[in-house]
Amino acid sequence: MFKLNRRSFMLSTAALAATSGIAGRAVAQSDASGTIRILMNGGDADLANTNNAIARFNKKFPNVQVSVDMDPISTGWGDYVTKVLGEFASNSQHDIYGTAIETFQTFASRNIMEPIDDFVAKNPNYSDFAPALFEDCKYKGKTYFVPTSWNNIMIHYNRDHFDKAGIAYPKTGWTWEEFREIAKKLTIKDSSGTVTQWGYEVPNQNFFIQPWLFSNGTGALNDDWTASNMLDPRVAESLQFLHDIIHVDGSAPIPGTDTMDNQYLAGQVSMINRGHWVIPNIRNAKLNSDVAIPPTKVNDYTVVGFGAIGIAKGAQNMDAVQAMVAELTGPEAEADVAKSGSSVPGSKAAAELPEYLAFPPSAPLFYQTLPHTKAVPSPANFQEVEKIFIRYYTAIMADEMSIPDACKQADAELNDSFARLKASLS
């Protein structure tokens, strides 16, 4: 576990002070002119953060016009990848892309992003970032992205529901079985047998499901994301556990196409698997909510996914583009992320800001669990892999397919997909 000691606190503070000082000094304006096009993703908060970074950039580069387009990622990263690849195919690409780990290998393997090792090495701000994040930004030894913010999946729980049921709040190291018993106790039915409060939402998205595999020491793919691991009995065990929460205990509904964020905010679900991005909504709903590390089977590992910035291959005005990326990933931008609460900031110093730590009560857990996370498996055929896994997963959770059959068929399909990927990359 990462713990903040005096030494790391002093170093972080010094780094923040140093970078703030750099930003605060009068900076000579550049004569460079031209345009920079940025494609970012997310909602209003992300657009506001980007516009703040552009305003700072334009103080140094007044003659460079910057335009920003936003993609809400409303239909997942697959469509975003299709959009970006389409831009490159039609030679209408942006200069800078905001993206996420799910797309890294897809973009890097197609050689459409600029390697930025030198740029990263020269930028002192990045020493404040968790090295593990930069490791996941590499493809075949080269760095292609700068991490900006990240999300690890935690259990968000309604403290009022726990209090009402007389259940102690979850502690680090709680087990699968303890979790299951708590979910049962938190499920409430009315006189007609209709469930009015679900103990847990069995997740319906690939990213949210991963902690149940990782904490059992397994995963749907092998460790280097080159083949299926669906025949590992521990995968079946994890899936059986989730299946039983629905069909044996009746503590969770069958996952549908929509997530149950609104039901959690309305107090109709007691526990959900989510990242930090739900915190602003929970705070606005004034829900008495906190977070816990996902329960343990053989370890307490959870999943991490993160956003990042990359530079398009062949981008013009490279000095200005790099300066723009520096702003988008600099201390002010990181502080904006921390204050908005939409993610955990990549910078450690930003993750220690009071605004960030104000809510939920166990907010420091997000950063502290980082050493106990594994990146969401994101091979170059991620979009296909995710669809295959989710298709069989939903069939299992709907009790429409036996777990051994589903694992076997998913394994065959995943390996076919990897064979096709290998052929296309070669």
Binding site: L85, R110, T194, G256, T257, A398, E400
Partner: protein, 315 residues
């Protein structure tokens, strides 16, 4: 015979013009050029937006296509993959099942509504019913599907009332058995108003004198429908069936929003499969081959319907 006289005089006029203004062949070629110029814009649009995409799709179906990683010909590999993939049978069957149920539901309910509204009633009431049944047609399918999604959820409105009535709840969308009928139910609610309108128009064309003669002869309403009304409107019914079939075979958005093709592959249609393969998994060549197969299937089904129409439709 004034009409015949007029035609002759036109011909005479044309002959005179031809003799005096220019040789006959030159005039014809001028007329041909003018004709081509008139159809040129439409042809450009047709070639660009219809024929070219069709040709590109057929070409892509024989290729592995990736603008960044490189493309190459793969012969019939994409088609071989489709016809040997066990999922293809399920997806193909889903599409046919949806088509059969949705076409039957849309056309029959539309016809029943049209028959119910094709009778004497106060004008305002008639317009009220027509508007009420037609309204879902003009609402975006994406929006309709989201609302129906809330109805169909396991903890949704339908199950809420079933539970309060002491009835067992139903897994409308999370059961492979119920998901497709639920989607069809929504599809019929959404689209049957369109067919109702065209059937009302057709019913108003049924000759009143024949119907009155049948009533005076004491023919029962059931017999009048089968012997007079249905044969008279059969070309419109045939059009409705073909139109509904082509739309149903390409069903995408209502399924995508309600179930995303699940659970598992239980409701995945061929259109969804094409989009997922081509634009979700970047298997553009494979997606194109599924699109070609789907086009052939639509052509075959429409062809069969045309053949059957020769026997069943009375023009």
């Amino acid at each position: 015979m004034p009409r015949r006289r007029a035609l002759l005089s036109e011909r005479d006029l044309l002959q005179t013009m031809t003799d005096t203004a220019a040789p006959r062949s030159e005039l014809r070629s001028q007329q041909a050029r003018a004709g081509y110029l008139f159809i040129f814009p439409a042809m450009v649009l047709y070639l660009t937006f219809v024929l070219a995409p069709v040709i590109v799709t057929v070409v892509l179906s024989f290729a592995y296509y990736d603008p960044q990683l490189g493309s190459h010909w793969v012969g019939f590999d994409n088609f071989k993959r489709f016809f040997t993939d066990p999922r293809s049978v399920q997806i193909f069957w889903n599409t046919l099942r949806f088509t059969a149920m949705a076409v039957t539901g849309n056309v029959s309910v539309g016809l029943l509504l049209a028959l119910a509204l094709n009778r004497a009633m106060p004008g305002w009431l008639l317009y009220f019913f027509r508007l009420a049944f037609f309204l879902p047609v003009i609402i975006a399918a994406a929006f309709v599907a989201i609302v129906w999604g809330y109805f169909f959820q396991d903890a949704g409105i339908f199950n809420y009332y079933l539970a309060h009535l002491g009835l067992p709840t139903v897994r409308w969308l999370t059961s492979a058995q119920n998901a497709m009928p639920s989607i069809v139910f929504m599809d019929v609610w959404k689209n049957t108003g369109f067919f109702m309108i065209i059937f009302i128009a057709a019913l108003q064309g049924v000759p009143r004198n024949i119907m009155e003669a049948a009533i005076m002869d004491g023919t029962s309403p059931w017999r009048r429908f089968w012997r007079i009304t249905l044969p008279w409107i059969s070309p419109v019914v045939f059009f409705a069936i073909v139109y509904a079939s082509i739309g149903a075979l390409q069903v995408y958005e209502s399924i995508w929003i309600l179930t995303k093709g699940g659970p598992g592959d239980a409701t995945r249609s061929m259109s969804i499969n094409i989009v997922e393969q081509a634009f979700g998994s970047f298997q553009i060549g494979y997606g194109a081959s599924v699109a070609v197969v789907m086009t052939v299937v639509i052509l075959i089904i429409t062809g069969v319907q045309l053949l059957l129409s020769r026997r069943l439709v009375r023009y």
